[in-house]
């Protein structure tokens, strides 16, 4: 309670005011810095002092500078950021997928399909015109080209998403390292939590890194008492104090793409990703794009098989002198419905006609395909034998497991009819399309070389156009193998589902964006700088400074009186 002690109090007050102004100035300077959390000066009254019966305070004590932040809000904000990134990643890929499909334009698959079937109508109108036949075949070729193009563009997009995942993994690892380093420095600066102050700039940096990491992958963050944070994904740690665990990519094949899955480098366990951009990319790659490719293959498979089933039961303007089946079986002794063919034949029969071009006569032979699961189901071996037994036709299985048919004389040609078993389509005999999926759908070479092989006739080689009637109407005919749905309905359902899913993804992403913005607004409410507020703080500290200075000058005068005694 001496003058000197009062001087000390005033001096403390000056310090406090200076510090306060500095803090306010720092806030003002960083008002626009992204991720900046406003600082607050924590002051407390100095410890009380007792001299005799007098108990007095010792002025103001600067406890520290802390950040105004709501950690719980931060956690929610990070989670919202993960969801937003995940939603936006899927949304972006959906929109790109939609523009590849080009559904409402004139260059989409739907138009190619209709154009092809319309050309078949033209052949019905003028079955005698070879040019019209050729046009139909070319339209079929264009259709297959368009299918393959769609397939390859979606695959390219899928590859892109995979590359993006790999890039993101690199980012994750960098951020993890950064966070670990910051952990060490923060602990150092904060003396392990023994001081009140926060390591202001460093914590901001770390928060930014955590925010970026959260937008990549879903993390949970636990702050320890010493100020370092532990970062977990699922139950696995990425950062623990100063120790890190990297994420690595492991390759695997999936639907024609060398895909990657994410594993932890130390434990080798699968990274349990549920949100964040990586989750969105994985969903885009596997469910959105991968799923689309699956549906494309299903549709294309149905188109190829159903069209081929009708086509292979018809005859063209000329028969075949030799023919090689497109598909092979692995084991010629296995029943045809268990021989691993992409399209499965069923119990039924078909007819082979041998036509003598010189005499104009033809013979019809029944070939029964027995696949009812009872004894001696038809195998490729038994089928070949039955075909070989036909007078005028020789049949054999090649070393590759394909069926080769040849007429036994140059005046004989053969054709097929009435296949109720789908065997001809399954083996790829007298078919129109070749291939089984989007990437390999093509037109049979024999048609590109010879338009007369277009199997429009149903009553024999060059007799009528009955088979063509079925072919031309196939797009809208209910098909048994798909549950009485027509190919056009199948297509529309597929496109509708894709559009709906895209609309949903966009709505979901919008929802996440909205929620994230709301939380961010709240966060800024707590931690953002308000210039007017800090201006008021400066005013107050200025006054305090002025008054404390006045106190010092008063004490100085008093001391002068003492010394001039």
């Amino acid at each position: 309670m001496t003058l000197t002690s009062t001087l000390a109090i005033a001096k403390n007050s000056l310090y406090a005011a200076q510090a306060g102004i500095q803090v306010a100035a720092n806030n003002i300077a960083n008002a626009d810095t992204p991720g900046y959390v406003r600082e607050k000066l924590v002051q407390a009254a100095g410890p009380t002092q007792r001299i005799g019966t007098l108990v007095t305070g010792t002025g103001v004590m600067i406890k520290g500078v802390v950040r105004e932040i709501d950690e719980y809000l931060q956690e929610r904000l990070r989670a919202a950021g993960s969801d937003k990134a995940s939603g936006e990643a899927q949304e972006a890929y959906f929109i790109e997928l939609e523009s590849i499909i080009g559904e409402l334009t004139d260059s989409d698959l739907s138009t190619a399909l209709t154009t092809f079937f319309n050309r078949l109508h033209d052949v019905l109108n003028q079955p005698e015109d070879p040019a019209v036949r050729n046009m139909a075949i070319l339209a079929g070729d264009v259709l297959t080209a368009q299918v393959r193009s769609l397939d390859s563009r979606v695959r390219a997009l899928r590859k892109e998403s995979n590359e993006q995942i790999i890039g993101d993994v690199d980012n994750i690892n960098q951020l993890v390292k950064q966070i670990a380093e910051l952990n060490v420095r923060i602990v150092e600066v904060e003396k392990g939590g023994y001081i009140v102050s926060d390591a202001v700039g460093l914590r901001d940096e770390r928060d930014l890194a955590l925010k970026q990491l959260a937008s990549l992958v879903n993390i949970t963050v636990h702050e320890q008492t010493n100020g370092s944070v532990n970062v977990f994904v699922g139950g696995d740690y990425l950062v623990f104090d100063g120790v890190t665990q990297m994420v690595k990519t492991v390759q695997y094949a999936d639907r024609g793409l060398i895909s990657v899955e994410l594993r932890l480098s130390r434990s080798d366990g699968l990274l349990r990703v549920s949100s964040g951009e990586i989750a969105g990319l994985i969903a885009a790659r596997d469910d959105v794009l991968g799923g689309f490719l699956d549906q494309l293959d299903t549709f294309v498979g149905a188109l190829i098989n159903e069209f081929n089933k009708v086509h292979s039961s018809g005859q063209g303007l000329s028969g075949y002198q030799e023919l090689l089946s497109e598909h092979a079986v692995a084991d010629i002794q296995l029943p045809l419905d268990e021989a691993g063919l992409a399209f499965t034949p069923v119990h039924g029969s078909f007819q082979v006609e041998i036509h003598n071009r010189q005499t104009g006569t033809h013979t019809v032979h029944d070939i029964f395909v027995q696949l009812d699961g009872l004894d001696d189901d038809t195998t490729l071996a038994s089928l070949t034998a039955a075909l070989d037994a036909i007078d005028g036709l020789s049949a054999e299985v090649t070393v590759d497991g394909q069926l080769r048919l040849e007429s036994e004389s140059p005046v004989l040609e053969f054709s097929f009819a009435r296949d109720t078993s789908g065997t001809l389509a399954a083996l790829g005999i007298n078919t129109f399309f070749t291939g089984t999926k989007g990437y390999n759908m093509r037109l049979h070479e024999s048609l590109l070389n010879d338009a007369s092989k277009l199997a429009f006739s149903g009553g024999g080689i060059g007799v009528d156009a009955r088979n063509g009637e079925s072919l031309a109407a196939l797009l809208t005919t209910p098909v048994e193998s798909t549950g009485q749905v027509s190919l056009s309905q199948m297509y529309e359902r597929w496109m509708g589902e894709t559009a709906q899913a895209s609309a949903l993804a966009q709505a979901v992403a919008e929802g996440y964006r909205s929620f994230h913005s709301t939380l961010e607004g709240e966060h800024l409410g707590v931690s953002g700088v308000n210039l007017d507020e800090d201006a008021v703080h400066i005013m107050v500290y200025q006054q305090t400074f002025q008054v404390s200075a006045k106190v010092i000058s008063t004490i100085s005068e008093l001391l002068d009186i003492l010394t001039s005694l």
């Binding site: 929109i95 559009a499 709240e522 931690s527 007017d532």
Partner: protein
């Protein structure tokens, strides 16, 4: 568009800045959207912007493209029908002229020169009609049926042969609506004869008989059968079964537990037996309202013992691959048949045939110019002549092949009224002709009471004076070819067998027993055989046949024939008129369909527009509104947000 709420609590400057940026971004984005809508005219660019509208739009677009194609189909059909009608327009006049000529030709006062000139005119008309028949349009022979690149009508010797078919060419006039676009020459010009009605070939049931060929071609509806032995049941699914053999195999491999079922394929039905040792009651029923067991003829819902089930007749029909061994229970395949067509007779050897298709092949590729097919009810085959203008008949070749197959054109059942191109047999009261046997016994035959060839044969064979086998003369159908034959086959021999015209009756001539314009015919030898000519030649009823016969009749000055032909000409004209009327009707239908199609296209375009097109007025209004919002935002940002306390300190 999302709305971000203003947080309660503090406002920070960063928040204010950020919201400003967001606002500007949003407005600019919306402006850009409207600009794009205006420039493309589309309300939505990507399907996800309005998924259900986009889905409908895709379906509408496809429908529109299909309707446009159908319009092309209709106009092409119209073009071909117009060409067909144009071709036929000249035929009516030609026929009219010919009729006039026919009437003049029947006039007794014409002389040979005039008649020769008329015959030439008829020939010229015939040639013109041939040209019409062979008319082409856009590379298609209009009257060849579906054989559009084959010239349909050819001259063959003195006659006209038809090389087309009667298959209709069809195209889609609307979805699932097929429309005939041609008129086959077969029905229009009468290019093919009516069939020699083949009898029922009675195909047998085999393991390879298709289920679709049972019940007269109605087939069997697939379903599940429930077999029971009184205590245990089993279910047999026949879905996917194609042949009778499949049914047998499935029945035999799914008996009730512990029992055995054996199925035999009978000639016309199935027979099922359960192993006798197990006893019980053997029943078969359909599952749940099915009809399979009933259709297979093996339905038995109540059983009194383990007796076999004898299935009913399954009435299988013929298919091209039916084996010839499985028909008729045996028939004469070795003798062959004789087909007379035009002026030629051909012997057809059927020994090499194994299936129905082979049989048809041999007939169709023979030079007899016939069209052989499985008949409409699929119980037999029908043979028709492709030749116009000549006589057509099918007879035996020493055996019973033709009769077995039901193809002989002269049989016991042939009605006398149908003979001689339906002129029939003209009788007189009293005896029509007399047969003098080699033993000089005369038999007076009065055929007034006879209705059929068989009756005539019976009248001769059962004549009271003709009952002693040692002396009788036998009447029968000729073993080779066609016609009636009288044969005396006695070892004694000697003497002559004669047929004598009696009472100026025409009957013997009409029956072919006597050559026309003769009164007596005799034969001697051992055996003594008098073979008559074929009284039942068939002809192809059509324009070419009519003209060829007219021409020949004029040259021969055969007035009866000319008169007959004149009546047939009217039939031909009528047929033609019908055809043209039908073409006219079809043309009208096409017009109606085209009008409807065009209307539908307009409706579809408008529906499509509703789904995805932008309403220009709407877009323009939106644009103006958003522009105003943009200006207001910019204004408030510029003016309000630049102030702070520091300005006033």
């Amino acid at each position: 568009m999302a709305i971000y709420p203003i947080p309660t609590g503090r406002i920070s400057d960063v928040l204010v800045t950020r919201r400003m940026m967001n606002q500007l971004q949003n407005i600019q984005k919306r402006l850009m959207t409207v600009e794009q809508q205006l420039s493309t005219g589309r309300r939505i660019q990507l399907a996800s912007e309005d998924a259900s509208a986009a889905n409908r739009a895709v379906a509408l677009q496809r429908l529109l493209e299909t309707k446009a194609q159908l319009e092309t189909n209709l106009s092409t059909s119209q073009a071909f029908l117009d060409a067909t009608d144009g071709a036929l327009s000249s035929v009516a006049d030609l026929l009219h002229n010919v009729r006039g000529m026919a009437v003049r030709a029947a006039d007794n006062t014409t002389n040979q020169t005039e008649r020769d000139a008329m015959a030439l005119e008829v020939q010229a008309t015939l040639n013109q009609l041939l040209n019409v028949g062979n008319e082409q349009y856009r590379g298609r022979y209009l009257f060849a049926g579906s054989a559009t690149t084959t010239r349909p009508f050819d001259t063959y010797n003195n006659y006209v042969a038809y090389r087309g078919n009667d298959t209709a060419l069809r195209t889609y006039a609307d979805q699932e609506l097929l429309f005939d676009t041609n008129v086959p020459g077969q029905e229009l010009f009468g290019a093919v004869s009516s069939e020699v009605e083949g009898g029922d070939l009675d195909p047998m049931l085999t393991a390879h008989t298709r289920l679709a060929d049972l019940r007269g071609g109605l087939g069997i509806t697939p379903g599940t059968l429930v077999i029971s032995d009184g205590s245990r049941t089993s279910k047999v699914s026949l879905v996917g079964a194609e042949t009778v053999g499949d049914v047998v195999r499935r029945l035999e491999s799914n008996p009730p537990e512990g029992r055995e079922i054996h199925v035999t394929i009978g000639a016309r039905g199935l027979r099922l037996e359960m192993d006798a040792a197990g006893g019980g009651y053997f029943t078969i029923r359909d599952e749940q309202g099915g009809r399979t067991a009933a259709q297979l003829g093996i339905l038995r819902t109540t059983g009194t013992a383990a007796e076999p089930i004898e299935g009913s007749d399954l009435d299988p029909v013929l298919s091209a691959t039916t084996s010839l061994d499985d028909i008729l229970g045996g028939w004469d395949q070795d003798s062959g048949l004789r087909i007379t067509n035009g002026d030629e007779t051909h012997v057809i050897d059927l020994q090499a045939a194994e299936t129905i298709q082979d049989l048809l092949n041999i007939l169709n590729s023979s030079e007899a110019m016939v069209l052989a097919e499985i008949n409409a009810t699929r119980t037999g085959i029908s043979v028709r002549s492709r030749l116009s203008g000549g006589d057509f008949s099918i007879g035996e070749n020493g055996g019973t092949t033709a009769t077995d197959l039901g193809l002989r054109s002269l049989t016991h059942e042939t009605r006398l009224a149908a003979l001689n191109h339906r002129r029939g047999v003209t009788t007189v009261s009293g005896a029509d002709f007399t047969i003098r046997r080699t033993d000089d016994v005369e038999l007076a035959i009065d055929v007034s009471s006879a209705q059929t060839i068989g009756d005539v044969i019976d009248l001769i064979n059962n004549h009271p004076d003709n009952l002693d086998p040692a002396t009788a003369v036998t009447a029968r159908l000729r073993p080779v070819g066609n016609g009636l034959e009288l044969i005396e086959d006695h070892p004694a021999g000697g003497g002559q067998l004669s047929v004598i015209r009696t009472n100026f009756s025409l009957a013997a001539w009409d029956l072919g027993l006597l050559p026309r314009d003769t009164d007596v015919t005799t034969a001697d030898g051992t055996p003594a055989t008098l073979s008559g000519s074929d009284p039942n030649p068939l002809e192809t009823q059509g324009i070419f046949n009519t003209l060829i016969r007219l021409r020949d009749a004029i040259e021969r000055f055969d007035i009866t024939e000319i008169e007959r032909i004149t009546q047939i000409l009217d039939v031909d004209s009528e047929r033609l008129t019908f055809a043209r009327a039908e073409i006219g009707t079809r043309g009208q239908s096409l017009e109606a369909l085209t009008r409807r199609n065009k209307d539908e296209q307009v409706e579809l375009k408008s529906a499509l527009s509703v789904e995805i097109d932008m309403d220009i007025a709407q877009a323009a209004t939106d644009y103006v509104m958003r522009q105003a919002a943009y200006e207001a935002a910019l204004n408030s940002i510029a003016n309000l947000h630049s102030l702070s306390l520091l300005n006033y300190m």
